[in-house]
Amino acid sequence: MSSQYSAELCALLVEDNFGELFARIFSTLVRYDRLSLPRLKFYSHLSYPQLRHGIAAMIQQHLVYHYTSYDDGFTYYTPNLQAAYYLVRTGKILELIEDRLGKYAATVMSAILYLGHVQVGNLEDLPELQPAPTDIDGVEEEQETEGQTNGHNGQDIAHAARLHPTLKALAAHGYIIRVRESHFQSYADNVLDAERVIKARPDIKQLKGKKLDEAVIEATLTMLKERMDGDLTRGLVFNGVPRGVKRRPDARNGDDPTKKARSDYAAVDEEDEHDDEWSDDELDDEIPMESTLTVQVNYDKLDVALRNRRFLDLAERDSSSATIEVYDCLLRRIEYQTSKCRDGVEIPREGEEGEQYSAPIALSAVADDVDPNLDLAASIGPMDASQPGLRRGKRPLDDDDHMNGTTDHAAANTLASKGNRTYEVDQHLSLLAQPPHNLTSKRNIGGLPSWTIEFRHLARKLRHLELERMIEARYGDVALRLIRVLHAKGKLDEKRLQEISLLPFKDLRQVLANMQSGGFVDLQEVPRDAQRQPSRTIYLWFYDPDRVRSSMLEDTYKTMSRCLQRLRFERARLKEFLEKTERSDVKGNEERYLSEAELTLLEQWKAKEALLVGEISRLDEMVAVMRDY
């Protein structure tokens, strides 16, 4: 994990967010990896108070792991690169939360991120989570008023009614987890610790040899699971749907199909449109969350949600909006049951990874989730048997038995009977199951039709698409074609490659040489005799996605850190001016204190910064595809 550029990037991110002191401590720890306080002082040239306060604050922000050794009693500190890296993803995470659970939930989440980990009781006291006098947190309230006109009267009640349900919704989605003590130790330390405990157990001591190893490994894993487990979803999920799920599409998101919220109970109470969005969870929302519970953000789960969103984007390219909607419902259902993106720590090598299916979701459940007002039939086209038309050939094999008795579908669309709707949802999902992407796959479990997602397959697909996109951008479409041929056929000599790709030798060689110098393809020599004469040697071109992926990942880290450095430089150039805008009297009333020219400059600076930060977040998306999904 800790390659040169990822380490650099993490240190820069820490500096961007928390300032130089944290960055100094962090980069020292990254360089030397595991240090006790005196050693850390020696290497970082900081004073003890600086270090103590810095480290303590960094532990609070989960940027540093610590471990107190049983042997010598020293406490060692290790950097937590994952947490540092995820600083770059906070924007995405908060936006996702807002999209899923509303503005207030995003505010709560932002408070949790800001505090590192926090007890629920302390969250109650935070001023920005109180819908208190409007002038204090006017920024947040103003944007919020849209759907909640009654937010300002009855504030206390509204507040009490909102924080805990929101927290519960976050917990039920798995976006926040309980903090355990073992979360503050690095994974390796946890493993060693668990092993030590287990080896001391009398029943293990009796075992020997291979049996001992096996037993220790097994027991260690269970113990780790027990210790690291911070799952809060228990008891908060009903029928596979977490509580607090937004019930109806927001008015402002209405025209954007990807942003449309779920609407399971929309038919039940249509009239209280402006009510608080949690109002139907009256069952046991009066029970607040325990105030001693400590929560933190669960990045693993958020990755799952972000990955699903990515799948949705992929589907969006060549499907209708209704299909996307259906797919969104399926993905949501799956998200609730998926706790992390994959089991292993590292992405397995190409061709060596097994398939990992998502939890199967019954067709009827998806059909229930789909907005009843959604016009499903219109985008599928007439299903008349007499019009086999353009989609006939693309149907999966099991489609034939569905083909009879569906002639009336084109006419009746929204208010069709439930059976018909289920069938239509099924049709949409089968559309998605088509190649090239195979976004879904069908299973029959106990006679019930259900749908799953082949996670590994899709993650690989995303990776390949990303690499192909980059190759096309760099070397043109000829290169893309060659890469695809090489990827499909394996290693090829130049002649075969030329035959398959139907390109003139000249183009071919030029492009191949270019790509070789860029590290995307490589040449293998296979000598035909012992002398290894070039004339009697076969040269095979090949494309190794794993290798390319890891080098691209490094490049991406490097680009991100360069972007951050650029940002820092640009800020240094405007330092005096920016300090002026940040003055406590200027901030907030820029119009009053700044001149015309300064206002334009500020605007320009903000646009520039947004562009750079946005670029970093795009690059982060690539990193996510290549590393996390």
């Binding site: 003890y48 103590r52 924007g91 006017g138 907030g588 946005g614």
Partner: protein
């Protein structure tokens, strides 16, 4: 390449890029164009969603910056000890305290730990005193003492270097304690000032405290916010803004 006996014009891959081709002919010495045409790739503009993400990122970063943990390294000021690095690096052109400096964001060199509660068991024992100055290292707390009882036990085979190091650190620690005390005083002052800002606007008792030791260097960043609020109509506005973050 043909010297290795390749047959009948069948070129080996990469033959046209070999070194040989340059050897015979005149090398191309024509100057390359000074500013060759180069199409600069431009990032596409941010979409609405990306803009929102960026805003969230900036918002959170801003909060971190305004929060108690944001701290910088060089706090060059005339208030620093004589002969210290901070004093030497002082920028005498821009660093002088100015009147408008009172509105400037205060720069911290040490994260402020006060002002919020911490869950002690999540932190290593050696930091407990940092987090909670009232903590007594000797007293057992929450039953966690037993776990670390062997903390200082030596195994007896550490090399001398390590012991030296320890001694050194001990020495330094005692030296550092004074430093820490100094720091703490400053910190405390700051803490109270900050806390005061957040909690209430009753600054009477603070005034008494601050009135005693007049420090010209800290004239603007000590407890002057209170005075400012009195004197100016707009000063209150500035203070109010800080509270929102």
């Amino acid at each position: 390449m043909s010297r290795f006996g390749a047959k009948k014009g069948r070129k080996l891959p990469g033959a046209e890029f070999s070194w040989d081709t340059d050897g015979n002919g005149e090398p191309d010495t024509a100057p390359t164009p000074l500013f060759p045409k180069f199409s600069v790739p431009r990032a596409r503009p941010l979409s609405a969603r990306e803009r929102l993400q960026v805003d969230y990122y900036r918002g959170l970063r801003e909060r971190y910056h305004d929060g108690p943990y944001y701290s910088i390294l060089d706090s060059a000021s005339t208030a620093a000890k004589k002969g210290s690095v901070a004093r030497v690096n002082f920028d005498s052109f821009h660093g002088m305290p100015t009147y408008s400096g009172r509105y400037q964001r205060k720069k911290r060199t040490i994260p402020r730990m006060g002002g919020r509660s911490y869950i002690m068991k999540f932190f290593p024992r050696e930091l407990w005193q940092t987090i909670q100055p009232t903590f007594k290292p000797d007293a057992a707390m929450d039953g966690y003492a037993g776990q670390f009882a062997r903390a200082t036990a030596k195994r007896g085979f550490e090399d001398d270097e390590e012991e030296d190091e320890e001694d050194e650190t001990k020495r330094k620690r005692t030296g550092g304690e004074e430093e820490e005390d100094n720091e703490k005083d400053i910190l405390d002052g700051e803490e109270e000032g900050e806390e005061e800002e957040i909690v209430d606007d009753d600054f009477e008792d603070d005034e008494d405290e601050m009135g005693g030791d007049y420090n010209a260097e800290q004239y603007f960043d000590g407890g002057d916010d209170e005075y400012g609020d009195d004197g100016f109509g707009d000063g209150g506005g500035g203070g109010g803004d800080e509270e929102t973050y």
